[in-house]
Symmetry: C2
Subunit: 244 residues, 2 copies
């Protein structure tokens, strides 16, 4: 089995650049400090200093902020192949918390590891910056969704984005995907109440577009769902590789 088959991150970065075997070896060395995490205990706390970044290998996590009044806003979810905490690893304190959703396997990456790898292989550096840019483009889409989309198209957009991201690492297709999120996760991510989430999901199901039940998202009519969400996946930049 090749390194790209082992590592969802290697598989994802292949959408940007065809990495050489030396570059892949450098990437795989970033995976050395493997750790396991379970639900209910944050991997990184908002306000924590000296926090590491992680490469998520298996399982899902969410990144969130708690406001002083106790309300929670989920910023995004990470799936296998995503970096965790890359944004805040250069900040003195983490600007957000990271919580496992179920069991998680992740490789701890120190800033010094990253800068060392960057100095060795500029193309790998560019690929990791690409992944970071793509992560930020998703946060921007979430901002636009909360600011400007109604609840139905916001939910549809969210489910389609997750499907496209999962497909890139071999965990989903236009038929659907396994999804460990609860309606509370959806509510905190989309700025809706859990009751509202429930109603929106029922409407999407009754229109014959998508069903989310028992840990499975099933697309019934992918194209109509895309039209409802006005989903244009260009910001996910998955049509590459740009660098050969």
């Amino acid at each position: 089995m090749s390194a790209t088959e082992h590592s969802p991150l290697a598989r994802k970065l292949a959408a940007f650049v065809a990495l050489s075997s030396d570059e892949l070896a450098t990437l795989m060395r970033l995976h050395q400090r493997r750790r396991n995490f379970v639900a209910g205990r944050d991997m990184v706390h908002q306000g924590q200093s000296d926090h590491a970044a992680y490469i998520l290998e298996a399982g899902w996590v969410c990144s969130y902020k708690i406001l002083p009044d106790g309300t929670r806003q989920i910023v995004d979810f990470q799936i296998p192949g995503d970096f965790l905490g890359l944004r805040s690893v250069l900040l003195q304190t983490s600007d957000h918390s990271i919580e496992p959703i179920g069991e998680v396997q992740a490789a701890e990456v120190l800033v010094s590891d990253l800068l060392g790898a960057f100095a060795q292989t500029p193309r790998l550096a560019a690929a990791i910056l690409w992944a970071a840019s793509r992560d930020e483009a998703m946060v921007v889409e979430h901002l636009v969704g909360i600011g400007r989309r109604d609840a139905d198209s916001r939910m549809a957009h969210f489910l389609l984005e997750l499907g496209a991201r999962l497909a890139l690492v071999g965990l989903g297709s236009k038929a659907g995907y396994a999804c460990p999120l609860t309606q509370y996760h959806l509510a905190d991510a989309l700025g809706l109440s859990a009751v509202h989430v429930n109603r929106v999901l029922r409407q999407l199901r009754e229109k014959g577009l998508v069903t989310f039940r028992d840990g499975q998202v099933v697309f019934h009519d992918y194209d109509r769902l895309v039209a409802l969400a006005e989903f244009d996946p260009a910001y996910l930049d998955q049509t590459g590789p740009l660098l050969k």
Copy 2:
């Protein structure tokens, strides 16, 4: 006059790392291709390929996305010392548009310039990554603001964030700052109508907290405004430098 006095970016990066004269020289070489822009014409279009990034030297710009139905969401504003389009320079097409607000001077930076500078000076690379992380932390705060803050504290938070950012590059203080934004900019950034923006600003003024009029933001009671917004500037990471 030293390079840090010439360049708002050099001044900003000094909050993260005390750059050596060689590193500053490399940074200043990124400023070679200076260009001027005027309001009403986008510097970068959403969907554009082969777009450059820019270092903003003078003037303000906004980054925004247009939805298929024509509504606009402003993602953030950039002030002198900020990168423009850094997020999307590695994506095949820009995920957003960039529009000057008034007259703007900016230095065009190609991906090859950036990667070349990174290879020469890893500490400068880390500093630019820090600036990118900080930019993303702001987008996350805007997401949280739109998702979870009421209109008054959202506006207060926004005006305080701008003030803190401007202070870092010598363009503002706890007394206030010059601000070229219109109420339409504020509305498109905060997910409010222009009428609502007008009402919120009047309320903040009548409470003796802040006035925004005739291109000037004047803080009347900075501490009470901070309390109203629950503004914690840790995510702006301005207390550094972390690297000596």
